[in-house]
Symmetry: C2
């Protein structure tokens, strides 16, 4: 099977796209898929997770570290760079099984020979502070080779500069680049060692760059390694410079091969826990694995202080901020495959509770109103003017920040899902309960009672469909708010019974109310829009049906400027029924057991032609619900579109002069959801695993490992049969239901083979 | 004193402005101040009150009738028209004491002589169907004069055509033009008679035009009259053509002079009941009288089926629709001077209740939601896209129609004011109570209960300041809604006691509720924003204080297109503290006895520099409140700006290609309010007349007649003394309070002289 992506020539126009496509990373940092000789103009970047900085009045964004893998090789004084010279041949390759990036470029020399440069690199999954690289150069003729390598202190920034008091120097054979961030004075240090066994080395004064002169012999291959370590003041322990120097020295001592082996081992383990095998569809297989890879390189396996930004670690786009994408589109993958990382993601929300409290207070509400764009503190990085009007150049008032209140419900949903999937209710005691209660209190204070209709309503919100701002009773939002209120009561019951002392302690702050009594009473008459009796369609929000009916094609024909924003005050879609992305249909997916197949079908069919899919979060949801209603082939194109978004690069790269490219972790997670929760039809309700296969025509079977309530299982799901293999070490049994049949208990070490409803006996 | 406005030369660029400035009319029709030879290109128009028509998908607007006063005179074959020939001299004049328009134009003939044309005209106040005119022509040399006169069927329309099945013909000496409106098939007929005592007449075939040939002798003056009558199918009785023919024949029989005398007599009477004398300030005197004139020519004295449109009868601008302007800016003048017309204005709202009920139902509310732009049925003529975006040419979603809910409270306020001023509670039985209750029920269903703050709030509205749409708890709106709820309870008490049978009958429709019990309970915890404890400023709406602080000058410097709309989704003012017009300060004026002087002053000083006065409804309110807080000289410039708006013509005439000019009845009424309720300080609370003079420096005294609770009084208010003269025929006494002193009862036939607080004894 194919585990690699590869370019076989160099195309200048693809530099930015390939920077995303060939990303490596390890959750601590992301390393864009640029080439060794590239600099900030080519968007080379070492993006650090969780370290944010604000320069002046500009948008706050993550800090990019100096690039310790920078290397330029020259032959007889001519730099060998794809930017300057058309190479004879060029290969760029990513082995995403082991997360190793390789390039091999052959240049012609003016003297008639050829010089071949190769480089292999990885961001160690075994030691997250290390970037490692092996390079070679060889020539078909004798020539002079200059190698300039070290740490490139010229950092790409969108809203920088962020690094100050820069120092670049050498200590013995270690190059060091150190600086502090501007806003919070957090030190950042990069250290590098290069182990040349040839040539003459010289350190450039005042830079963390070394130059090596080599009289290369024809036919000989010269190989060396680079060891780079990155530390910041957020890592704790010693000063970052000391940490970095020690780490790089230890790495050099271990040697490249041993580091590579440890890295490979880690990746093998991660794939064992997360690989999804699709039988019968190589294209889908490759795209899905690539999507999983993208999630694995940005997952915060070792930190509970960071989560996954909307563009992963592929740069500073969208302020490096964490959106609802994490809970709603990425979390399911981690819940099924890596509960410990899932816990970290949820702990991030617990650590940022105070920011959410500040935001609620800012708007005059109780409890916690989570940031639409969350960074280190949980304060909202989203501005009130988040888009520029292309017609006037003026900042446009948008309501992402103040009206997308569903974010607090998304967080509650995520935490509760975590507890259901893992049974680890310690998360609740560790702060999860407080988050849940504060979010519920926020919604209590956001809701209003309608005295005529005698019900509580949620007014003036923006749902997932951001083209319709400030609407009343958005069905998705109301359904999630209701769930939040319910979870707050269930959490209280759980803690009261299991952790009575903690319950008393944690709830002391809420004695003045409103709290559980009031929330319970609100729930008794809480309004969630219901399917129309005739059409079965759920109106997306109050008066949606009065908006202009227009086809997507007609609406597109009204566009005057290709970068114009369709939402906002005067947006083209605002006054029409055209949606940016799945909204009611997303609700159908989240609460799939609350709606009949007929209702789901009616809503899919109603909203699908009216959806622009202006967000990469949209197509996967249509794939999921298509599978759920037994029409997987309707969903298949949406699945493929989602799973290939970072392979094709066919997404918006710029809005006006603003770069918005990068990877799409929510789509990556969405591809996994479509395959596993959609087509394979896996649904764990916290108690029983329901499996309802709905495979696209090409697919013969889907096989994957899952961890549920601490037990490990392998599922193989085909059209006719579902095979469940429980690990022998599981501590308890779990019930499985296939196609709504009787539950079957799967004991540790046992393999069950269950027929599907569509099985041909 | 000056009772005329006059031009002493002809300026082509002033044609449109003068069309407004020299308006005549009588409430049944308006006749623009154009010249006899003008046609639709010069915006000649006979605008009919209350007859609306919709052409295709265009905006519905009033019908303009064919112009029966059309006349072109030629000398030796050369038309004498200011449009073609520069006249030797030209005078256009309006005597607004008698509502008579005159022009005198002298032309040079190629032969070296001069020809003088004069015309005098009026829209009879004695017989509202008549337009009458006296013309003369004289020449200094013998010449051939052609007179072409009759009914010009080429009608100016903004969104026409509206007249179909046009017939133009003669019956004997009567010219007739008849047609039917397109939408409702209402017949419209104009008849004309001209009483030439000279020359040879000929009727043009197929037109309602006669031609007269005259060999004019040098030095001789030829005089004739035109009698024109206008009827529509809304007038009842016979067919409009028959009505018109009969009326014009009767008029011709009576003769011009007698008709003029009757007209003059009516005007004398009207001025007796409404003139306000300002001693010491001729400029203000003239402007105020002119403002009153503008109100008198459009007042529906004989119909309770029409009200006063926002541009009066000066054309089809703003769809000829009735706005809140009537209740809030014009009604006070009529309440004090002409209770019978005030009653008609309120009856119009009663007749359009069903339209308001339909609008409430359309939006899912109970009761009556009055039209923002009301025409004949009370259905809303306001569209959801009322302004075009100058940058894209696209219609812009505005919220005038759906969010300016205060209109229903304005109507309630008006009706209650009428009952207070007149004591005529029959209006309540005649439908007023139903309007009040339905509006209260509308607000009951519009309000929401905030469970944390434990109060009812009014969310998502647009207040008077239209630059800030969709705000919560607009102080003005909440205060007025609260008043509506209170009035609904008081109305019930009044009817229950005085008209118990009618009460039972009228309230039967509300037995299923919500009604008085629920409204009473809402009132117990109804929220109205209060002054800040430190600054005393009332926040215009929730979170107004978080908007951008910018000076008006700075905001103006951001304008990219002079016609761009400052409100709407992306409007320049939308995200700033700049207001279009008085909002909190208007509330201070409406509820002046609920706020201390300190609060009024603090709010005036806070909001005044932040107000654009983008509406002609704004300056008068700042004048009123300035007077109220004892700073009349702050208010004086605002008063003058308001009182001269139709004299200077310094108001917007076009937005994009849309003509929005016309007269400004709300400003005319606002000028009266500023002078009488502001500077003279007259305030009748339904029981006692409070007088608190606050005269501008120049003013020595203000004298005016008022009718209160059926009694007639003359008030003379100077700095030191207030003189009250009660008519002998008054049926009861009334209490007067000057500057907060002890009430003094003024018996019929008595004159009281009361010292002011500032009197120098």
């Amino acid at each position: 099977m194919n585990w690699t992506v590869r370019e076989e020539s160099f195309d200048k126009n693809q530099i930015t796209t390939n920077g995303n496509k060939y990303m490596t990373g390890n959750g601590y940092m992301g390393y864009r898929g640029t080439l060794e000789e590239f600099g900030k103009e080519q968007l080379s970047a070492v993006t650090l997770a969780g370290l944010y900085d604000r320069a002046g009045e500009k948008w706050r964004e993550p800090v990019n570290a100096p690039n310790g893998l920078f290397t330029v090789i020259s032959c007889n004084g001519q730099p060998l760079s794809v930017l300057d010279t058309e190479p004879v041949s060029h290969i760029q390759e990513l082995d995403f099984r082991s997360a190793i990036h390789r390039r091999e470029t052959v240049y012609r020399t003016p003297e008639g020979g050829t010089v071949t440069v190769t480089a292999e690199r990885f961001a160690s999954m075994d030691n997250l502070h290390l970037l490692l690289s092996k390079l070679t150069v060889s020539s078909t003729i004798d020539c002079r080779i200059d190698i300039e390598t070290g740490i490139d202190g010229e950092v790409w920034d969108i809203n920088g500069p962020h690094l100050f008091e820069k120092k670049e120097y050498a200590e013995g054979d270690v190059l060091i680049s150190s600086a502090v961030s501007g806003e919070l004075n957090v030190p950042v240090a990069v250290a590098e060692i290069a182990d040349f066994g040839f040539g003459e080395q010289q350190i450039v004064d005042g830079l963390a760059i070394r130059k090596l002169l080599l009289d290369a012999k024809a036919g000989e291959t010269y190989e060396w390694h680079k060891y780079v370590s990155v530390y910041t003041g957020l890592d704790g322990g010693k000063a970052p410079v000391d940490n970095a120097v020690e780490a790089v020295q230890a790495a050099a001592k271990l040697g490249y091969d041993e580091l590579l082996a440890a890295h490979r081992k880690r990746w093998e383990d991660r794939w064992v826990g997360s690989d999804v095998i699709i039988e019968g569809d190589d294209e889908a297989q490759m795209a899905l694995r690539y999507s999983i890879y993208q999630l694995l390189i940005i997952a915060p396996t070792e930190s509970e202080k960071v989560s996954i930004p909307a563009r992963g670690l592929s740069g500073q786009v969208y302020k490096g901020a964490v959106f609802w994408d994490t809970e709603m589109f990425m979390l399911p993958f981690f819940l099924h495959s890596d509960p410990s990382t899932a816990r970290n993601l949820m702990m991030y929300r617990i650590h940022t509770l105070d920011g959410a409290r500040r935001k609620a207070a800012e708007y005059g509400f109780l409890g916690a109103f989570y940031a639409w764009e969350s960074q280190d503190t949980g304060d909202d990085a989203c501005t009130l003017f988040n888009v520029n009007d292309v017609f006037t150049g003026r900042p446009m008032r948008t309501y992402f920040r103040d009206k997308q209140v569903h974010i607090s419900a998304d967080v509650v949903h995520g935490i509760w899902q975590y507890v259901q999937f893992t049974g680890d209710d310690s998360l609740l005691v560790d702060g999860g309960a407080e988050v849940i209660w504060e979010c519920a209190r926020f919604f209590y204070s956001y809701a209003f009672y309608n005295p005529v209709k005698k019900r509580y309503e949620i007014l003036d919100v923006t749902g997932p469909d951001e083209y319709h701002e400030r609407v009343n009773n958005n069905a998705f939002t109301n359904a999630l708010v209701k769930e939040s209120l319910e979870i707050s009561l269930r959490t209280a019951e759980l803690l009261k019974e299991k952790y009575p002392a903690e319950f008393e302690k944690l709830t002391a702050q809420f004695t003045d109310g409103p709290f559980l009594t009031e929330i319970g009473s609100m729930l008794e008459s809480f309004y969630v829009p219901q399917p129309d009796e005739e059409t079965l369609v759920i109106e997306q929000f109050d008066r949606y049906h009065t908006l202009e009916e227009v086809t997507l094609a007609d609406l597109k024909s009204r566009v005057l400027n290709k970068n114009e924003y369709w939402g906002g005050g005067n947006g083209l879609a605002t006054t029409t029924k055209i949606l940016k992305q799945a909204d009611v249909v997303l609700m159908m997916n989240l609460f799939k057991h609350s709606f009949s197949k007929e209702v789901k079908k009616a809503n899919w069919e109603f909203y699908e032609p009216r959806t622009e899919h202006g967000s990469s979060l949209s197509p996967c949801i249509y794939a999921l619900v298509a599978a759920d209603i037994g029409s997987p082939d309707w969903g298949y194109p949406y699945f493929m579109r989602t799973a290939t978004v970072d392979l094709t690069g066919e997404s918006k790269q710029y809005v006006g002069d603003l770069y918005i490219g990068g990877t799409h972790p929510a789509a990556n997670g969405g591809a996994w959801m479509a395959a596993v929760l959609g087509f394979a039809g896996v649904h764990f309700d916290g108690d029983t695993v329901h499996i309802k296969p709905s495979l696209p025509q090409k697919w013969e079977a889907v096989e994957l490992p899952v961890v549920l309530r601490g037990g490990t299982y392998t599922l193989r799901i085909s059209r006719g049969e579902v095979t469940i293999t429980a690990a022998a070490g599981n501590s308890s049994a779990l019930n499985f239901v296939v196609d709504g049949a009787e539950p079957q208990l799967c004991q540790p070490g046992v393999q069950l083979k269950l027929q599907t409803a569509g099985a041909t006996v």
